[in-house]
């Protein structure tokens, strides 16, 4: 079953100055599908349209064209939100409330009775490690504590779908591990998690599938287990004391000197081919014969970072696509199209 389905979802923002008025396309014909029970990583540089997507799905903003369904319900409906939890990026909350009051307030919005609310608040505070902070006002919380209480409010209704916008930002390594564990726990309970992140190593460790968004367009969607279980791409060797004769021998055997200093780093590509495989013992012999010492040898498979960089390069994106607008978005000027609640596509 599809938990999220979008069809040509497009969002343009109108921006006007004293001189002229124009629109910027934040999301361009997004066709995205998220399946039940998976952890979906939504990646992209700042301003790519990730937060815009989440806001469209949750009814905070309205599509210019196209449409979407969450848990089988159209995004114009309110009912599906009973089954959805959301943590915004850099969350701000009612800081005059204590941790317990804060969670109880959100539980009341779901119309839970008093006993259920009390139980839920206690369990969630324990789950995010904030039992001791239940009676502390949120204005006294650290950044990491706010992130954790934010996750707790997103789970107050035992949601089928949890949308987390940059849940790992601002957390220390222990905090990140705790959030990762919470996400795994949600998956083990059969829930679907969609989250955006800049921390690619975390995405790599957590996600079943990833989608890469660049300049408002979905560039690719990959299953990580298929993508990351590829054969070794290259081998990197670090050696010390390599002389000129050894360098030449290594280069003639297909080795590439990628760094030369007090230590020399040699890369051997095409390692999955028979020729590449055979080159490794020959290069090791050349190192030994030149009197150099092997410090380390590492195999490299394709990483998510490689995929991300490759996608970015293919997209021809500028080196820095960051724009600091109120809601960072890429700046492609387009003619304005009327949007709003009534401007939904079919």
């Amino acid at each position: 079953m599809l938990v999220v389905r979008t069809e040509n979802l497009t969002k343009e923002f109108r921006e006007s100055s004293l001189i002229r008025r124009h629109c910027v396309k934040a999301l361009d014909s997004l066709n995205l599908q998220v399946e039940m029970g998976e952890i979906f990583g939504y990646l992209g540089p700042n301003g790519a349209g990730k937060t815009t997507t989440f806001k469209l799905l949750l009814g905070l903003i309205f599509p210019t064209s196209g449409t979407a369904w969450v848990l089988g319900k159209h995004i114009r409906e309110v009912k599906f939100k009973r089954e959805v939890g959301f943590l915004p990026e850099q969350p701000y909350f009612y800081d005059y409330l204590t941790g317990e009051e804060f969670l109880d307030f959100y539980a009341q919005l779901f119309r839970f009775d008093k006993g259920t609310r009390k139980q839920k608040v206690r369990n969630l505070l324990a789950m995010v490690g904030l039992e001791e902070a239940g009676s502390t006002q949120l204005r006294k919380f650290s950044r990491g504590m706010l992130q954790r209480i934010g996750i707790a409010q997103a789970l107050i209704n035992d949601p089928e779908l949890v949308i987390l916008d940059e849940p790992l930002s601002g957390l220390d390594p222990i905090g990140r591990k705790e959030v990762r564990d919470i996400i795994f726990r949600l998956k083990s309970e059969g829930r679907t998690v969609v989250f955006s992140s800049h921390v690619l190593s975390d995405v790599e460790a957590i996600c079943d599938r990833i989608g890469i968004l660049m300049q408002g367009r979905l560039q690719r969607v990959e299953r990580l287990d298929e993508f990351l279980n590829v054969e070794v791409e290259s081998v990197e060797m670090t050696v010390s004391g390599l002389n000129q004769m050894g360098r030449e021998a290594i280069q003639s055997l297909g080795g590439q000197i990628i760094h030369d200093g007090s230590k020399t780093v040699i890369a051997v590509h095409g390692i999955s081919s028979p020729i590449g495989e055979a080159a490794i013992p020959q290069i090791l012999a050349a190192i030994r014969e030149s009197g150099a010492k092997l410090a380390s040898m590492m195999s490299r498979t394709q990483s998510l970072e490689d995929l991300f960089v490759e996608t970015n390069a293919l997209n021809g994106a500028a080196k820095d696509t960051r724009y600091k607008t109120q809601n960072a978005r890429h700046e492609e000027e387009v003619p304005c199209v009327e949007s709003g609640v009534l401007g939904l596509g079919s």
């Binding site: 009814g59 309110v78 969350p91 005059y96 409330l97 009341q108």
Partner: protein, 272 residues
């Protein structure tokens, strides 16, 4: 089902009330108390036998003034603050309707102002009683035209006026910037007390444009003088129950219309 909607509105209202209390909005009561006590001590001595009348007059004026300031500055920030602090993101992503959000915030502010007025009236009554106990020998017979029941009637109408001004503040907070919202709301308050004069000005004018504009203001803007019976009360003139009833009905209808426009505006608002 409607009970469930009411529960959400109540939850948001209580939270708004709690926010107002914890943001120390009720500190204005201290200033109010000081003004009323100062009026009883200082102004009372300047008027022979009219002490209580002056205290009541100053007390009612202060209630109205503080109420309008709270309605304007808190009312106009109700939606803006949620957007600026981004708390609206977690609110709207929950299964609540936007009109529940607006009505909840509105009711929460009304609750705050109601509590404010109740404490103010208690302070005013306390000062009046204390004053009459201490200076009863100075009272001139027949110098107390306004009893406590009339005082409550005047306060009730002040509350309805504040309800209306709050709805106007909420409307502007959904369609304009915070500073402009404050300006527009205060403008409505000031013009709202001059609409009858405006109509007369238009009628006296030879220009049809001026006449038209004045008539438009008269019919579109609220006539806030309907809620002002302070002068009549202080002078000892009676105000009929029918007048009060019509003023309340007028206020309720106007407020409902303004809230409906606020809800429509909120339904189309994007939280970027």
């Amino acid at each position: 089902m409607s009970l469930l909607y009411a529960m959400v509105i109540k939850t948001i209202a209580v939270n708004t009330f709690r926010e107002a209390i914890r943001d120390k909005i009720l500190y204005n009561l201290l200033v109010f108390t000081l003004i009323v006590i100062a009026a009883s001590v200082l102004l009372g001595r300047l008027t022979i036998g009219q002490d209580q009348r002056v205290i009541k007059d100053v007390g009612l004026a202060a209630m109205s003034l503080f109420g309008v300031l709270i309605a304007t500055f808190v009312g106009t920030s109700l939606v803006h603050k949620e957007i600026r602090k981004k708390t609206i993101y977690t609110m709207i992503s929950k299964p609540i309707r936007r009109y529940e959000f607006i009505l909840g915030k509105y009711c929460g502010l009304l609750l705050t102002m109601f509590a404010n007025l109740v404490i103010m009236i208690v302070v005013l009554f306390a000062v009046l009683m204390l004053h009459s106990l201490l200076f009863s020998h100075q009272l001139v017979s027949g110098s107390e035209p306004m009893g406590y029941a009339s005082l409550l009637k005047a306060v009730a109408l002040i509350f309805f006026e504040l309800m209306l001004i709050t709805s106007v503040a909420v409307l502007f907070s959904t369609i304009s910037t915070p500073s402009l919202s404050v300006f527009f709301t205060l403008a409505v308050y000031v013009i709202g007390h001059l609409t009858v004069d405006l109509k007369e000005l238009g009628a006296a004018s030879k220009s049809s444009l001026v006449n038209g504009l004045c008539s438009l203001c008269y019919y579109v803007l609220p006539n806030l003088d309907n809620f002002n019976i302070r002068a009549e009360m202080v002078r000892g003139l009676s105000v009929g129950g029918r007048f009060v009833f019509y003023a309340i009905v007028y206020g309720a209808l106007y407020m409902t219309a303004v809230l409906l426009v606020s809800i429509l505006s909120m339904e189309r608002k994007e939280f970027v």
